[in-house]
């Protein structure tokens, strides 16, 4: 082809990025790798090939990690951890800073290696992934530096196991490794089977950051290796990013083991376009949403919701834009869409789209190379019931529906099991800021999409997982209180005496559901005896249907979340006031129940109500310092409906210690009071009744902790479950919570001093809220 030919045709020629340096690095290692354990590569064991998906050619053989390998890595990480944690924050900051600098210095090598192993366009690995990796280490160098002064009384968890996906191999490594190391933990990371190479390269570079041996360990392998990492003892936390299906298994596997857990799972994130949006910009946004990384992005805006009046025009513009996307060799600098990560994934995308019988399928009219490539695809005219509107495709396939009103947009957007991210396009700031809080998502982008930064928390709600990555919130997931917890022994109810003392007038405690007293559905009750053998009354034995009713009532009361912090504070003060008026009655009741003086507990309870009345309008969000012209607001939103099993040991104070933070933050709740001493709680509903608390905000179901915990933990319409029971039910709750991947906060048979500092404060507020990050770029 002569220059004149090109001049006449004006085509894009080849513009390949060289792979020579990356190939050299592989060759230096004989295209064969062991694990990175204790600061060095191990001898390769049984290996499997990792390939370049765009050519199908193998790049290297990597070792299939065995249980023994995991144990070796755990041992190394355990050895290294105390010393690493003892370093000053500044010393750890220097290591993290060095890692950030190393990522920058070797940025092109890392980018090329990433593109070769994963198939994503070099533009993305070069301009997005690797710069974000460096930024993450810089930011966390800062967190390490500030940790001691800003978060006193915290300690690292110990050894963290990280399991990461193949879509952003090095970036996900950074998201796990940087906060773990900043907080003083050591790490064992298992990269995805398809994409292990940049993790190994990074590990080798970490030597130049002077990272002590054993602080960072990489064990390669498939799901079996990951399973071993999850299941072995000696790990204090698992941080997982990947599919909801695997996340659920990990939740079940770690239940009752005492391992901390954060899960960042799948999504089917809505992308809402209102009729007053800058449509062309919204279309460019979609390119970044669903054709970024071949759509293999957990937070991909994969579900387009477009206002009916502009839908036809929008779809027409969108199709034209799709036709202009260039698909091909990911190392080519002029390519928009690269290769799907593996033929297995390609088959999965193809199968899902081929099975669809609804709507109209449009494949981009752009040349498609042979091999592991899938064309950008738009499916219009789907309904909420269409499989592809509900299921995550994890490929370059956008599905679309229309809506009529903002309310309908919100309903459709939230009509999903997931809750990771959401995008809103409108030029109307009133509309944007009205919609953002209503969307069930951990991240909302206004007039933008797929913006990420180390300072801004990322993570989901519902079956998109729990926990946040990035920011101070993310760091908290790698820390625990520095105190050593004491064991909590079961507290049994007082048994029936031989010679019972029966009161003159029978008193019947009921359940409290939807602001009304309710008889237990099952029609069973049991007597409650005082320490001195007096029959204090009967308490209902609640069952699963009572929980069902209570959860329904709690949902019906969700308007509580919209009440102002000031209004919620007023209600909490009023509850305190009414309790104070009946202080002597409650003191007497507590003495009867527990045999101890109750005055101090009532006073502490009134104080606790004041504490959360105070917090109700003071647990502020933040405006994060992100590197764009705009703000990223971290908003503390209520979790929703919280099911909480109150402590047995402090029948009134314990109950209020879980109730008050939950409702102060705008949640509604289903409370199961002390099993041994339930009558303080049932007396308390009379206080609630007189305190202007809307019915259903607090529901009280008495009964067996073990029995009711099962229903609460497994309930699909509860957002978080807490247990401070003295019964050993933590494992059961964690296991059953996997049903809808709800947040769990359980005591693991550890005691808590309810009358002391650990009985209230920020930990309770954090557990009562979800951080939603709302990105609002601005500029005119």
């Amino acid at each position: 082809m002569t220059i004149r030919d090109i001049f006449n045709e004006m085509s894009y020629g080849p513009a390949p990025e060289s792979s020579a340096e990356a190939q050299d690095w592989l060759t230096q290692h004989g295209n064969r790798f062991g694990h990175w354990i204790d600061g060095a590569f191990t001898k390769p064991g049984e290996t499997f090939a990792t390939s370049n998906p765009s050519t199908g050619k193998p790049l290297a053989d990597v070792t299939q990690g065995t249980v023994k390998d995991i144990d070796t890595a755990i041992a190394a990480a355990r050895r290294a951890q105390p010393k690493w944690a003892r370093l000053s924050g500044h010393q750890r900051a220097k290591h993290l800073y060095a890692l950030a600098r190393l990522v920058q210095k070797h940025s092109r090598l890392l980018a090329v290696m990433e593109t070769m192993d994963n198939g994503k366009p070099i533009r993305e690995s070069r301009d997005i992934d690797i710069p974000l990796v460096a930024r993450h280490f810089y930011y966390h160098a800062g967190l390490a530096q500030l940790l001691t002064s800003e978060l006193p009384g915290t300690a690292p968890l110990g050894v963290c196991g990280a399991i990461i996906p193949w879509n952003f191999p090095l970036l996900m490594l950074a998201w796990k490794v940087a906060p773990a190391l900043a907080a003083g933990n050591t790490v064992i990371l298992k990269p995805a089977e398809y994409t292990p190479l940049t993790a190994l390269l990074f590990a080798e570079l970490s030597r130049e950051a002077g990272l002590p041996k054993g602080v960072l360990n990489i064990v390669t392998g498939d799901g079996a290796t990951g399973e071993a990492l999850v299941n072995r003892a000696g790990i204090n936390k698992i941080a997982f990013t990947g599919s909801t299906q695997v996340g659920r298994k990990i939740r079940e596997a770690t239940a009752g083991t005492g391992k901390s857990l954060t899960l960042e799972l799948g999504g089917k994130s809505p992308y809402i376009v209102f009729d007053d949006a800058d449509l062309d910009s919204a279309i460019e946004g979609l390119v970044d949403a669903i054709w970024f990384n071949q759509g293999q992005v957990c937070c991909a805006g994969s579900r387009l919701l477009v206002q009916e009046g502009v839908a036809d025009r929008f779809h027409a513009k969108l199709k034209r834009r799709m036709d202009g996307l260039r698909i091909g060799d990911p190392l080519d600098k002029c390519i928009d869409v690269g290769a799907v990560v593996d033929p297995v994934q390609l088959a999965s995308i193809t199968r899902m789209v081929d099975a669809n019988r609804d709507g109209e399928i449009y494949h981009a009219a752009t040349p498609l190379p042979a091999g592991c490539f899938y064309p950008p695809t738009l499916i219009t005219g789907l309904s909420a019931a269409s499989t592809l509107m509900q299921e995550e495709i994890f490929g370059p396939v956008l599905v679309s529906m229309t809506f009529r009103t903002p309310d309908e947009a919100v309903q459709l957007a939230n009509n999903t099991r997931y809750g990771l991210a959401a995008t809103v396009w409108t030029e109307n700031i009133n509309l944007a800021l009205d919609i953002a809080p209503k969307l069930k998502a951990g991240v909302v982008w206004i007039n933008a999409t797929n913006l990420f930064d180390a300072a801004a928390a990322f993570g989901g709600v519902r079956e998109s997982g729990f926990g946040r990555e990035g920011g101070w919130e993310g760091l908290m997931a790698y820390l625990k209180p520095a105190t050593t917890p004491k064991p909590l022994r079961p507290i049994p109810a007082i048994p029936a005496p031989n010679a019972p003392e029966i009161p003159d007038l029978d008193r019947t405690a009921k359940l409290y559901i939807g602001g009304k007293q309710a008889r237990p559905d099952g029609g069973y009750s049991k007597p409650v005896w005082s320490a001195k053998g007096k029959l204090l009354g009967h308490v209902g034995i609640g069952n699963r249907k009572d929980i069902r009713n209570a959860v329904e009532a709690a949902h019906a009361a969700k308007g509580w979340a919209k009440a102002t912090g000031h209004a919620r504070a007023q209600t909490l003060y009023y509850i305190a006031e009414n309790l104070s008026a009946r202080a002597s009655e409650f003191s007497a009741r507590l003495r009867d129940l527990t045999g101890r003086s109750g005055e101090a507990e009532v006073e502490a309870t009134i104080s606790r109500l004041f504490t959360y009345a105070a917090w109700a309008d003071k647990y502020d969000g933040q405006a994060k310092s992100v590197p764009i012209r705009g703000v990223a607001l971290a908003i503390n939103e209520p979790c929703g409906v919280i099911g909480a099993i109150a402590p047995d040991d402090a029948p009134l104070l314990g109950l209020i210690s879980v109730m008050a933070p939950a409702i102060a933050m705008g949640n509604t709740c289903v409370l199961v009071p002390s099993e041994a001493f339930p009558l303080a709680a049932t007396d308390f509903y009379q206080v609630l009744d007189t305190s202007d608390l809307p019915g259903g905000v607090v529901n009280i179901v008495t009964g067996s902790h073990a029995e009711l915990a099962k229903t609460l933990a497994g309930h699909m319409d509860i957002d978080a479950v807490w247990s401070f029971s003295s019964s050993d039910i933590s494992a059961q709750i964690e296991r059953d919570s996997a049903a809808n991947i709800k947040r769990c906060w359980v005591n693991r048979a550890h005691a808590r001093d309810w009358s002391g500092a650990e009985g209230e404060g920020r930990e309770f507020l954090r557990q009562s809220t979800e951080v939603k990050t709302v990105w609002i770029p601005y500029g005119e």
Binding site: M10, D278, S281, N447, A448
Partner: protein, 332 residues
């Protein structure tokens, strides 16, 4: 009282190869104008990603740079312009790249897209370009501020057309945009178009003075409705001239106008494009957003004076593998 000059016939062989119907304009559609949005942050993000998304290398780069030369309105718009200066510029337009380099590239006979001058230089330029197909463009209508009496602005167009200008680069009244007086902008532009007759009209929006991208989008549409053949960013005299965000907005307006009317409008970014790499970004933007027809001089021009020099050096580097120097290339 507005004047209505009679259209003046011009030699159409001076026009660039016109293969598309001229824009007849349309009635002012204020609903459409009002509905146009431009989200600045999103547009800036798009622009920031543009240079990283497209790349042309080796022979492709050379061919694209040669194409860019054919799209340049080689411009001199200075108070000290003289006949001699304009002649030199026209000579450069005829032979924009050293003959030996063009021969080696197999591209002999290449010229720039046009020469762009003030009215008083039109006749000299026409004379100097005799025997070529290079059109002369005249900036007009009280360039650059556009604040001289309307009657005179209209008359100025007629003068330049009579002097042989095949293209008239008019400036719009920024005040009509800033006060959202779209009717006034439309009426004025319609008259100017009538005054141009067969000469093609480029409407200079002076985007650096319009305040917002939304204003740029709306002004673009109104000018097209009024019959503009080209929309052009800048006079080169504003504080900020052609930028990628402004270009994205104007290109999108051209696309919407095409969708609605079937008429192709040309685009001319002017001022601030001095590097060969900038030119490549613009070309890929035109190719991707509007398509191949907008890589031809009848639908795309660069208003530039220093761009050519950088391209010449790049072309020599392409042939020799050595970085070039300005003194190795003849001045314009």
């Amino acid at each position: 009282m507005l004047t209505h000059p009679t259209p003046v016939a011009t030699a159409t062989d001076q026009l660039p190869q016109v293969t598309h119907p001229r824009n007849p304009g349309m009635a002012l559609d204020l609903d459409w104008v009002a509905s146009v949005q431009a989200n600045t942050s999103a547009i800036e993000r798009r622009c920031a990603a543009l240079p990283g998304r497209r790349s042309v290398k080796k022979d492709w780069q050379a061919a694209w740079l040669l194409k860019a030369i054919t799209l340049i309105d080689l411009t001199t718009l200075s108070g000290d312009d003289t006949e001699g200066r304009v002649k030199r510029l026209c000579a450069k337009a005829r032979q924009p790249v050293r003959a030996d380099l063009l021969d080696d590239l197999g591209m002999s006979g290449l010229t720039t897209g046009a020469v762009c001058v003030y009215h008083d230089m039109v006749a000299s330029a026409v004379q100097a370009l005799e025997g070529t197909n290079i059109p002369v463009a005249a900036v007009s209508t009280g360039f650059p501020a556009g604040l001289s009496p309307f009657k005179l602005r209209i008359a100025e167009i007629g003068e330049s057309v009579r002097a042989g200008a095949a293209e008239i680069d008019i400036v719009i009244s920024r005040r009509h945009v800033l006060t959202q007086n779209w009717q006034a902008l439309y009426d004025e532009t319609v008259e100017m178009r009538a005054a141009c007759g067969d000469a093609h009209m480029k409407t200079i929006l002076a985007t650096g003075e319009l305040g917002t991208l939304r204003n740029v989008a709306r002004a673009s549409l109104v000018c097209m409705m009024a019959g503009a053949d080209f929309i052009k960013t800048s006079t080169g005299k504003e504080g900020v001239n052609a930028t990628l965000p402004v270009s994205v907005v104007m290109i999108r307006a051209i696309r919407d106008y095409l969708d609605r009317t079937g008429i192709k409008i040309g685009y001319k970014p002017a001022g601030g494009i001095g590097k060969a790499t900038d030119a490549l970004v613009y070309l890929s933007l035109m190719k991707d957003e509007l398509g191949p027809p907008w890589l031809q001089p009848d639908l795309f021009r660069f208003g530039a004076s220093s761009l050519l020099g950088d391209i010449e050096r790049q072309l020599e580097h392409h042939l020799t593998g050595r970085y070039s120097a300005a003194n190795r290339h003849p001045m314009g």
